[in-house]
Amino acid sequence: MTARAIRRRAKSAVMTGLVVGLALLAVLPLLLIFGDLIHKGATSIDWNFFVKSPVPAGETGGGVANAIVGTGIIVALACLAGIPIGVGSGLFLAEYGNGRLGWLVRFVADVMNGTPSIVVGIFAWTLLVRPVGHFSALAGGAALAILMIPMLARTTEEMVRLVPNSLREAALALGYPRWRTSLAVVARTAMGGIVTGALVAVARIAGETAPLLFTALGNLNFSTAVGHPMQTLSLQIYVYATGPFDEWHRLAWAAALVLMGLVLFVAIAARWVTRERYGVR
């Protein structure tokens, strides 16, 4: 072997090692975060944490029942508006989206996906908080719905496009009108993928904080009234993390662990729904 060949092989080996090292370094902080979450969160969770509302500052104990219920309600509100619009847009992109309008919608969806969520928050504030004069869970749900729509549009499109064209042709050949072909054959075949997309979107918005700061605002008491301020886990973590009390910091870690568990559970459920058909991707 010539010296040059040896040098080239050595370089290849060194660079491979470097890439492996960088990859490990990339994962390290995330392992640290998970480690700390489990370590500091798990020691703070007890039954009361799930069933009680917060106690006044300075007292020990209390829980985040209000925040858990609030997260559920606000996410449900977001889904109510976001899923039909997002999935509908995605169906449009897959079925009629080859023209200029399709390009525009696809492009806007991708750009909106990168829009800071806090900007969406102030937009929701101008629409739903400023006119009525007070903060509400409804405004929070609307902000999260706006974040969901572009995500869902793109994942739905991708999933519907995976449906083989022969299925469409078979249904059309049997005399199905296009709309029934699209809904009863194409969308139904892609249902698993669409559900996955929706669950991934839910996992993402469930942890959002910034767009809720001036819409849902937060609420120290248990509340299920959607026309009024409501607490979520993410807002609770923010308040506790910025507060001066050790007891609050303990509760912040516990709430973070619960929120993380919730997000991971939904993300894994999303994978599980499509485990066979799209397992490769």
């Binding site: 900007v119 904080t209 923010y238």
Partner: protein
């Protein structure tokens, strides 16, 4: 792109209604974007009219005297994001190259899944970790050697109290690594195997194949992935708000507190007592919106050049 339902006019009422409803729903997205731009502009108008373009380079932010300039926030946003990129890009590209080119086959699937999960960690959780773990770590482990080495430069001058530009940049880096890695990984997966095979067939080593064939082919997509990460860092709110110090200062030192546009909105929006104060905050929001839209639009066009039309990165939400 595969022909979907062929688009031509049909007499079937159901078909027309269906197409109409879907088109209407899809039109909501561009309308929503116009509405966001419109609302921000209208609400920011009083401040824009009063301060003009000087709003961008004035460094006073005084709600009492009603003088507002966004320079410290714009500076802090750009510097913290660039610092984040500087740290994140090598790590993320290393991870993406490792996953697509070198990792054993059995590792690729779970590792890819892990990267996607990590991208779903809420921002506020990163912030919490930043406050209670990262900042103490920086104080004890990272800053003393940095000060010893570079303390004489203006970039590491002053006393380090914890909440700082450095902490903001590092937390941003940690947050955007999975994102850049996931998008780059999809770009690299879209590079045809024939590119690698051709290079190896000509006698290239593994690394030379990556460096001379795979990376150049995916270059515009990787640049797009980096820009997507940059756009994300610019608009990142909660984690940065918790660790950057939130002070309207212009300081070259990374060890000093700073501010970002998103953090200013998070902190001051509900406290804005006067119309002009609120309007100035809307102007900040408008600047942030316009900058992220431009960066994301460019990034998308670049990524699309490699992975045509696919929702690259959609799984990295």
């Amino acid at each position: 792109m595969r022909p979907a339902l062929v688009r031509h006019h049909t007499k079937n009422l159901g078909d027309r209604a269906y197409a109409g409803v879907l088109t209407g729903l899809a039109l909501l997205l561009p309308l929503l974007m116009l509405a966001v731009a419109g609302q921000l502009t209208v609400s920011a108008w009083p401040a824009l009219k009063r301060f003009g373009p000087a709003f961008l380079w004035t460094s006073t932010w005084d709600p009492v005297a009603e003088v507002y300039g966004a320079a410290p926030m714009i500076f802090g946003t750009v510097v913290s994001s660039l610092l984040g990129l500087l740290i994140a890009v090598p790590l993320a590209l290393g991870a993406a190259i490792f996953l697509t080119e070198f990792a054993p086959r059995w590792l690729r699937q779970p590792a890819g899944f892990l990267v996607e999960l990590l991208a779903a960690v809420p921002s506020v959780v990163y912030g919490l970790w930043g406050v209670f773990v990262l900042i103490p770590l920086l104080r004890t482990v990272a800053v003393p050697p940095l000060k010893a080495l570079f303390g004489w430069t203006p970039f590491f001058s002053g006393v380090f109290y914890g909440n700082s530009m450095l902490a903001g940049g590092v937390i941003l880096a940690i947050m955007i690594v999975p994102y850049i890695a996931a998008v780059s990984r999809e770009v690299l997966l879209a590079v045809p195997a024939s590119q690698r095979e051709a290079a190896m067939g000509l006698g290239a080593t593994r690394w030379e194949a990556v460096w001379t064939a795979v990376l150049p082919y995916g270059r515009s997509g990787i640049i797009g992935a980096i820009m997507l990460g940059f756009g994300r860092a610019l608009g990142e709110t909660m984690a940065v708000t918790l660790v950057i110090g939130n002070r309207h200062d212009l300081s070259a030192s990374l060890l000093q507190p700073a501010y970002t546009m998103a953090a200013a909105l998070a902190n001051e929006f509900t406290e804005a007592t006067t119309q002009m104060y609120l309007s100035a905050l809307f102007a900040v929001g408008l600047v942030l919106f316009v900058v992220t839209v431009v960066i994301n639009a460019l990034a998308r066009l670049l990524v699309w050049r490699v992975a045509r039309g696919t929702a690259v990165g959609s799984k990295a939400l």
